[in-house]
């Protein structure tokens, strides 16, 4: 089996509105897929409130254990936008104005309308820079391996466009699936044996109960495309051994 390099990222989602249940997060799955396309595996996510010490702790944990650390939320102009300050605290550096960001804001709002509140959006941790946003004038902020993105999904996605190809990724993780129409518990022993026999892939089992059907989507993942078909074939045989119907792919896809 080929040893593949694994490049990892962590994500800190910042916002009381997620923890209160007011807002349904829409960024985690999007960032996870984007990272996968860049050859980076999302390793851990932490959701914390608008709380300086909580952000510092989470950023320090994930920037140290992962190759990259992303944050979403808290980079706007209001009093509860404290991500830049907290990340500066995590690195133990000052917060400074970024000249390029000040220029961008002055161009956007006009010099007369560049209030103190708006200038907050040009603040970066000392030594940090900007993440270009090809879709709007709102940049994100970068400090070393930490990328601070907006919480609003449309703006966050624009910032990711600006980062395309910028990360040093490994081989993307590939996957394919078989859906088996049987209770997951009937497949469990066969699957465990297949996983044991094929350590070069990881097999995930995702049960569903819907529209009167019971089954599980069995997803096989590997960075090497050749590793996947033999395992899918073994899963199909295991399904037939218990007289279960199966279809290739994910029933939900």
């Amino acid at each position: 089996m080929t040893q593949s390099i694994r490049v990892t990222a962590g994500l800190v989602v910042i916002g009381d509105e997620i923890l209160s249940g007011r807002t349904q997060d829409a960024n985690i799955a999007y960032l996870a897929k984007w990272l996968n396309e860049e050859g980076v595996a999302l390793n851990e996510v932490r959701i914390v409130g608008d709380d300086r010490l909580a952000i510092i702790e989470a950023v320090n944990a994930l920037r140290e254990r992962c190759d990259y650390c992303f944050t979403t939320g808290g980079i706007g102009p209001t009093h509860d936008d404290i991500t830049v300050d907290a990340v500066a605290g995590a690195f133990d550096v000052e917060v400074v104005y970024n000249e390029e960001a000040l220029q961008m804001l002055a161009t956007y709002y006009g010099p007369q309308e560049l209030t103190e509140a708006r200038k907050r959006m040009a603040r970066v941790p000392d030594g940090g820079g900007l993440v270009r946003n090809p879709k709007s004038s709102a940049p994100g902020v970068r400090k070393d391996n930490v990328f601070m993105l907006a919480g609003i999904p449309g703006i966050m996605r624009g910032m990711l466009e600006g980062l395309r190809g910028e990360l040093a990724g490994a081989e993307p993780m590939l996957s394919d699936a078989v859906t088996v129409f049987a209770p997951e518990s009937e497949m469990a022993e066969g699957l465990a044996a297949i996983q044991d026999a094929h350590p070069e892939v990881s097999i995930g089992s995702y049960p569903f109960f819907r529209r009167g059907q019971i089954g599980a989507e069995l997803v096989v993942r590997s960075t090497n495309v050749d590793n996947i078909p033999p395992v899918l074939a073994a899963i199909r045989r295991a399904a037939e051994a218990i007289d279960a119907e199966w279809v290739d792919g994910e029933a939900t896809a």
Copy 2:
């Protein structure tokens, strides 16, 4: 200002499928709202993969710093369902069969069909018990202050019904909102002054850009209902001071 007791919970979401972006989480916001109804504040969420050491670390961190720790996912019958084993590891206890759960499974499947894989679903950390599920025969697992729930949203919600009234909660957090149709940056200075003058509430600002409208939903939170109206009034005055239109409530609600 009345000092209110704050009862907190942490949540560990377990599943490679969330970190790969394959599955959009549907449990965090639901659990957050349910906890709020029970007078418990969700303090932090961690999303980790199907990895024993990662689960142990997250559960130990959150069960120690929060009053309650919930987990979702990984309590089914397949090889990638390792939550019970990991939580037992976190508490440094053995995994044992729960007699009541074995009985429930034997009744559901029939004694002949109670395979080793299905018996996995009756395993609990030593000293642990079950979380009743009034909506189905699938119980969750409890060990001290850690509640292990299913990852499938419908089953997870049934388990929460079984926990209604079981937690020792504090006063629920209350909230109300004003939506202001102006760029968040124009409201920022006024809002900061209002927050400074009213430390007895927390004010969150949630900007939106949609259907051609720019604005922000300003949410005022407190456990004391009397604290909220004066702050909403101050926000309305701040909106009028910058000639911005406003409506009561959340424009998205």
